[in-house]
Amino acid sequence: MIEIALYQRLGEFTLDASFESDAQVTALSGSSGAGKTTILNSIAGLIRSERGKIVVSGRVLVDTEKGVYVPRHKRRIGYVFQDARLFPHLSVERNLKYGRWLSGSTAPLEPVVELLGIGHLLKRSPRLLSGGEAQRVAIGRALLADPALLLLDEPLSALDQPRREEILPFLEALPKKTGVPILYVSHARDEIARLAGKIVWLENGRVVGEDVTGK
């Protein structure tokens, strides 16, 4: 489903990683500075790697050898950032509809809203949401843009333990209910164990191991 090969130098740091995965949820794990977010940003088209190839569900997004580079807004990669990044000038509902409007999708809001338990927040401003609520809205916003792949960048790291417990069930239900493959960055072993079908271990910009959990 996803095929990644990236090479990039960023000052002292060199990213030189490649992996493939067919799992519904693939986890990228490793200590901070291992290059996890750099990989996500490359897949989403937020940074451009020197050399590399990115294929998602058979669609080539980047192939530097053949000069292929799809701009970020045409990639259909949903990205849930660590810091949610909801649009502060739009209500929760309009945040949710933003990507859906641009994708031309007509998928109804309700299933996603129900799945994430955010029905009571729709009329609110994102400024008034707790961290956990904002994170769920961000997931909904990315899902409604009809993505071919969902990137989650440590979506729970900014939250305390009770909040994490609040969101984890939603995350567990996501792949089954939506069918969208997920690439999940985390260094929390318990999260990974609960969610991922395949785990890719990174260290200093390199893949140092892969585990298949059989999920």
Binding site: A44, G45, L46, P71, R72, H73, K74, R75, R76, I77, G78, Y79, F81, D83, R85, F87, P88, H89, Y98, G99, L102, S103, R127, R141, A142, A145
Partner: protein
């Protein structure tokens, strides 16, 4: 006593003309101001500092120089002025439109400065997020960057309006001081100070000028504060 405060017809005409000139100047220059501010805030292109210098030039040049340059360029015999007249029968010379052009040019640096600051303050990570949701750079601009910098744009527009109301040197050099056509508030005050017995008229217009300027400054401050609040919560 109250009669003293009653504006004479030519004073009313000067006030109305000033409002029309300033409003036209701001409305027409706003899209250009936003484009220039965006280019300066975000652009990495050759000639960026040249653009920056050009935009700020009216701020530091003697207004009479700006007015004279406008006359040379947009006057009936100037390259742009002759073209506009020959092809469209349109002229700036000695018309209120020329006063609006002069006011717009003189207020442009203030407009661009305020808008540029507010665009620079917009969180680029939100723009990146919009991109991943399928928004092209143009859509990102209109749905994220522009709405988030709106208070700064309004603050800049109000400030530019106040500046345009007060513009004198470039206007009188470019389009002279014709009552009812190019005699704006400052030109009228100037005229009053040049004739015997004009003190009362000058004073009335001075009061109006002060009132308009103070109100515009307060309004501009209000929008700037709203921008701060908006950006704090981003």
């Amino acid at each position: 006593m109250l009669d003293w405060f009653r504006l004479q017809p030519d004073e009313v005409a000067a006030l109305q003309l000033s409002l029309k000139v300033a409003a036209t100047a701001v409305i027409v220059s706003l899209p250009f101001g936003i484009a220039a501010a965006y280019a300066l805030a975000r652009g990495r292109f050759w000639g960026r500092s040249a653009l920056n210098t050009l935009v700020h030039l009216p701020l530091v040049l003697p207004p009479v120089v700006t007015g004279y340059l406008l006359l040379l360029t947009f006057g009936r015999r100037g390259p742009v002025g002759a073209f506009l007249y020959d092809w469209f029968g349109f002229t700036f010379s000695f018309r209120w439109t020329g006063a609006a052009l002069a006011a717009g040019v003189m207020a442009f640096p203030l407009l661009v400065r305020a808008i540029r600051l507010s665009i620079e303050a917009v969180d680029r990570r939100l723009e990146a997020a919009a991109g991943t949701l399928g928004a092209s750079p143009l859509v990102v601009f209109f749905t994220v960057t522009l709405p988030l910098s709106l208070p700064g744009i309004l603050a800049g527009a109000v400030l530019a309006f106040a500046k345009a109301i007060g513009e004198f040197g470039a206007t009188i050099t470019f389009v002279s001081n014709i009552p009812g056509e190019t005699q704006t508030l400052p030109s009228a005050i100037y005229t009053f100070t040049q004739v015997p017995g004009g003190d009362a008229g000058a004073m009335r217009l001075v009061l109006i000028a002060v009132a308009v300027s103070v109100f515009a400054l307060l309004l501009s401050e209000y929008f700037a504060r709203r921008l701060d609040r908006k950006l704090d919560l981003q």
